[in-house]
């Protein structure tokens, strides 16, 4: 049986990614909302800061990278939650499906969606709204995809603690908003109360924002930037591992 274990795992991951994307396609309204809302919000922001283009330039690029984090967190936690009462999770757990293959399948599917989402948002922002960044626009999109996978991994993890879709939706303001407020997007972190600044170091979005800001402002990405990337990847892997632990083959 060992001979087939490896390709079977890759096949299960690929099949899961395809299945999740097919499910998503069956819901065109959700797809439209996922792909277009960030671009529309970006447009809104552009005209809110009509008189302060430099503020739009400062916030725009990080936001392209943070939108996918928020949407993927929500979409993943709810999609995963639906597998539990539906009995499909239990069915999968009774099959030769490794937990990490299942989670990787989810990750692959939502990373693909995030890439399209960030691509559209960036395209609209850079080409139509005149967003100006010092660094590379491609780097902004790449970081956006990374943040999406981080959001997905955290969403998978917290979905284990939600017993209804209402609860899962409430995890968004509970888990995501504090990170958004503390990451430095609204106020530079060094200007916050020192306890909050210290707390911000414990939150993964802080590092995601820092990397994005470095690209946007054209400051040397350097070791700090790469350290940010490593933290984001590390937290993603940790959340996936913890997510795998919350998937139980046997339930009471």
């Amino acid at each position: 049986m060992n001979a087939v274990a490896v390709p079977l795992g890759a096949a299960a991951t690929g099949a899961t990614a395809l299945r999740v994307l097919t499910q998503l396609r069956r819901d065109p309204r959700t797809v439209a909302l996922l792909l277009l809302v960030p671009a529309l919000l970006m447009t809104l922001l552009r005209y809110v800061f009509d008189g302060q283009p430099e503020t739009f330039d400062r916030l725009g690029a990080p936001l392209i990278g943070l939108f996918p984090f928020i949407t993927m967190f929500l979409v993943t936690s709810i999609t995963m939650l639906r597998e539990r009462p539906g009995g499909t999770l239990e069915r999968l757990m009774s099959m030769p499906m490794a937990k990490l293959d299942l989670l990787s399948g989810y990750g692959l599917a939502f990373a693909a969606v995030a890439a399209v989402q960030a691509g559209i948002t960036a395209g609209v922002a850079f080409l139509a709204l005149g967003l100006d960044v010092q660094g590379s626009a491609v780097a902004v999109v790449a970081l956006a995809v990374g943040n999406a996978v981080l959001g997905m991994a955290l969403g998978l993890f917290v979905s284990a603690f939600a017993s209804s879709e209402f609860q899962a939706v409430q995890f968004m303001p509970a888990f995501v908003l504090p990170q958004l407020i503390l990451c430095g997007l609204f106020v530079p972190r060094e200007e916050m109360a020192s306890a909050l600044e210290a707390a911000s170091y414990a939150l993964p979005l802080t590092y995601a924002f820092d990397a994005l800001e470095r690209v946007a402002s054209g400051t040397d990405f350097g070791r700090r930037g790469w350290a940010d990337v490593v933290v984001v990847i590390g937290v993603t892997l940790l959340a996936l591992a913890l997510g795998a632990l919350t998937l139980r083959r046997r339930t009471p």
Binding site: A11, T22, Q23, E90, S94, P96
Partner: protein
Amino acid sequence: MMSSARPNGAASAPDGAVAVRDLVVERGDRRVLHGLDFSIGAGQITGLLGPSGCGKSTLMRAIVGVQVVTAGNVRVLGLPAGSAPIRAHVGYVTQSPAVYGDLSARENLRYFARVLGAPPARVEETLTTVQLADQADRPVRSLSGGQRARVSLGTALLGRPQVLVLDEPTVGLDPVLREDLWRSFHELADDGAALFVSSHVMDEAGRCDHLLLMREGRLLADLTPDELRERTGEQDMEQAFLRLIEREAALA
């Protein structure tokens, strides 16, 4: 994944396809199964009968390996229930259909076939077996209850399982379809599979090769339908079961 792929020791498992020893299951502070002890033979249909709430589903979950067990042990095909090498050889159909409602029957089967490592041709074969070829491309959500149940059953048949655990598979199905399904169950058993079918409708007992009668988490009897008729002097299965309970009560 033909029969040559059966896990080591499966063919010569001394206790038959499934061996349950002193199985105790507690859910919360309630004892659901009180030390069950029995075996299920390959090549036959074993019916699990008893009133709703008597622990049938919990017992089936323990055999599939998705139930947390308090004490005792369950071996399937000679290995601990739910262990990795046998997962591809055990099919499980839950009471409510565990399939993706937003996907079609064909998409559901295609996905689970990939997870199981079953050849793609098996999907079309299975659609024919469960008589869904005409409805294969409609979203499962839009199918009737009976059709949804058949998608779920098809999923369990994909891997040509050697042990097929069916939790109330014929509830809500019309008589013609029930007849057809029982015929295919017998064909599977004739091919050497062990089928374990639960029902709370006693008239299905006559269709089984062997019966386990259960009440309040205990086994009342482990016998063939003929033995049940003989022992109770009743031809009607419903009456026979009631007679057995009366006797049990008289003894207590």
